[in-house]
Amino acid sequence: MSKVLPEAPPGLCFHCLQPLPDDGGYQVVIADQQRPVCCYGCQAVAETIAQQNLLHFYQYRDTSNPLAIPLVPEELQQLSAYDDEQLQQQFTRTHDDQSRSMTLSVEGMTCSACAWLIEQHLARIAGVVQAQVNATTERVHITWVPAQVKLSTLLQAIAQLGYRALPFQSATQEQDFKRKRRYFINRLGVAGLATMQVMMIAVALYFGVLSEFDENLKQFMWWISLLFATPVLLYSAQPFYLSALRSIQAQRPNMDVPVSIALLGAYGASAYATITHQGEVYFESVAMFTFFLLVGRYLELLAKQKALSAAANLIKLLPAVADREGADGEIETVPVSQLHPGDVIRVLSGHTLPADGTLLDGTALVNESVLTGESRPVQKHRGETMLAGSINQQQTARLQVTAIQQDTVLASIIALQDLALSRKPKLAQVAERLANQFVVQVLIMAALTFLIWTWIDPAEAFWVTLAVLVATCPCALALAAPTAVTGAIHKLNKSGVLLRNADVLQVLQQVKTVFVDKTGTLTSGEFKLQQSYVAPCSPYASDQLHAITQALEHYSEHPLAQPLRQLTTTKCQVSQVETITGAGLQGIWQNQSVRLGSLAFIQQWHPEYQPHLPQAQVFLASVAGVWAEYQVGDQLRSDAQIGVARLQQAGFKVVMLTGDRLELAQPIAQQLGITEVQANCLPADKLAYVSEAQQQHPVMMIGDGINDGPVLAQADISVTFGHAADLARTAADVVLMRNQFSAVLSFVDIAAKSRTILRQNIIWALVYNVGILPVAMFGLVTPYIAAIGMSVSSLIVLLNSLRLYR
């Protein structure tokens, strides 16, 4: 009888599905076929199975993944409900390339090892474009191709690792937070109460009263201590064991491994001593160590939640229903999820906009503070975009919906914030790697300590090793970077600064030069007529000339044309207007040729002509003479001057890069105190200046996200103003949601502060950990001193980071 048995994946043993040894292992004949096995044991078992005709054992097993065991049917059914198209639309974003992305919240994640496990596991599934796991927020951002893999398969894959993943719903986040806090508070409470009791007994036993205790009473005290320490070990310390086990599974031992070993070891040895009535007990160290560690974790959790809820609160503000205007003008209340782009909705005064839309009324006043951090209301005009999350301040507004739910600007802001939190900056990565290496070294050192002390004095070996494990646990090092970075991002988001890439916090310190684009950055970007000049020799009245200019400009698409279309109410006719690209316009007015355009353009007719207004850009001329000059410009931002001054004070060299003529740029530069101006820049020139400066040191570029795209991409730090609608398109590292130049300063200040804190944290943690190691190895630290030392060092780091939240 020959059955077709499923093959084991290449490189794995046919029997146990473990990797084969390098030499290929051994062979066994099963069902008339040679199969590789890893060892003699497997060979013997496989032969026996074949001889006993139990081949069904091999037939019905899943060879694809030795760890995969199917879920029970009910769970499977629940997961497959998420494959429903309509349901998916509510929480997924579909991209142009047919891939889809969404955020899952994952339960049971305890540390970055978990994140790594899930990431690795998901990345191996065909059809998954990207899986980014954020251990801080306990969320997975996943992009997949629905045609290749179903969402339920992905959820199932995460479930196989022992985590529960569900589509992230901000509505339940607050509950999750509460649950998580309660989880720690309960454990903290138990540990706190027990620690007090055990400490009291320990103090009594150590000092003074000791001699008055007879041996029986001492035994009794030990038993009481054991009683109190047990719930601490079994209940309070659970989070550490879980995290340690996960990290071992991922083959990346984290600091909870030495913590768990120390806790279990100290308790085990103390319990043994209590039962056998000899030796030493350290129940107070077990309780205290657990308590302090939990305090640290709890504070870290609070900090995290604070950073997260800032973003989550935004979404929570969005109403769930909207007042939709039917075709007959009747208002019906519908769930926001049923709105479609193109629908017309009404938003009452004082209400929050449920979706993005264009204003259909004349004007409206809205408060966009949730989006920009700017609390003053903003005036909107007909046709302008209004954003979900902003609050309508005046009368009822009508808008035409352009985007709902996941497609709104608000959603993309939140996505950006999440992204920044999930991408670990390099320094944080370095710190984490350092902490992980440190864990390995601590374990090695502890092992060596144990072996050496066994040789010197076996009785002391155990407690000295324990002290080494506890004292050198790199908790402070592991907390140093993540807490500081989370704090910085939180603070930045609160001030309306979105970070796409937290690395810039680090790079900023090396930046010496800041390139600033003029138009739209130093200036508001709104062009206005600033000065006009009418030649006295002109045969026509100025009003008549303005009318000609205005008429011609109606044919132009140049940005400077806009303010020249509203010069006068006088009307006039021009004909045969043609656009000469890069020069201006030419047309016929009252049977004579007229030109409107650049100086060079009219100098073709009047080679000798010199402008009267040195900064005029637009000239009106006939063949007979030059009639008028116009100076169009945009307003400096009100806070540009102080902003530039403060950047210079902070030690940055500020360089203006502009496409305008030097005569136009120079006065503005002078007014702002900028000494270096690069005018007449084409985009390629800007790029060249930036790359040249980069030869020396990293540079920062502040510019217009759309037009300066390539230059921004070249700069080490790119900063742009969030023209909200284009948020998704900007590639800048830093997006300033507040439309003020001084928002740059918030970024610079907070980045500098967070870097200082980060450095302090890391230096302190390193000094402590490296310093305590030899002391502990020499056996000079008792377990409870070690527990205090370690706890204090991590609390210092945490409290230092919490300064960022103030």
Binding site: V45, Q51, H56, I248, Q251, W455
Partner: protein
């Protein structure tokens, strides 16, 4: 010494991942269905075999030691060596233990025909016997545990050590079906096996140091 008994138990526990991969689903497959009494009968047979082997080795070692004053210390060093080899094997760093396994093959070849007779044994005694046969499967884990039974100094102690070792392996084999997926994934993961490997190696080093210290004191 109690601490040696702990070592035997620990070795059984440390092998959980290994046992689970090799024989996890098999016990159920061999016994027809995987009800708890049947699994227990089967595994009791297996552990009985270990115990018998432990008694034999213990007795043999105690004979040798009567003629050698330092014998126990050298045996301890040998046991430490086997523990080290086992640690390396579990961690997947060096598979030298397989050479030891090879030694067990002839024994297994002799027993195999008998095993076929108990194929899908239905009665409890038959299951127990089938389990006993299973206990002689070439297995490096068992052989290194036997080196500790040799230390015990007597047949009864050797039997006790091996029974403890067998008990250590029991959770992985019997509770197989009760473990959640997460626990199974953890036990089977490379990380867990490496951790166990490291613990075994440390234990080996510790044992060796104690033994060397004793040698130093003796001479």
């Amino acid at each position: 010494m109690q601490i040696d008994a702990v070592a035997a138990l620990l070795m059984g526990l440390a092998g959980a991942g290994h046992c689970l991969m090799m024989c996890g689903g098999l016990a159920g497959a061999l016994s027809g269905n995987a009800s708890l009494p049947r699994l227990l009968a089967y595994n009791a047979g297996r552990i009985s075999s270990y115990t018998i082997a432990g008694a034999i080795i213990g007795a043999a070692a105690s004979q040798i030691m009567q003629n050698m004053p330092d014998g126990l210390v050298y045996l301890r060093l040998l046991a430490a060596f086997f523990l080290l080899v086992l640690g390396l094997y579990l961690g997947g760093w060096w598979l030298g233990l397989q050479r030891l396994e090879k030694l067990g093959i002839p024994l297994w070849r002799a027993l195999q025909p008998v095993a076929v007779k108990f194929r899908q044994a239905q009665s409890m005694p038959a299951l127990y016997l089938a389990g006993m046969l299973w206990g002689w499967l070439p297995c490096g884990l068992v052989y290194s545990a036997l080196s500790w039974a040799a230390l015990s100094g007597s047949a009864s102690q050797g039997a006790l050590y091996m029974a403890l070792f067998g008990l250590g392996t029991l959770p992985a084999m019997v509770a197989f079906g009760w473990f959640s997926q997460a626990v199974q994934a953890f036990l089977k993961s490379q990380g867990f096996k490496q951790l166990m490997g490291i613990i075994m190696i440390l234990y080996a080093a510790w044992t060796a140091i104690i033994a060397l210290r004793q040698l130093g004191i003796l001479h």
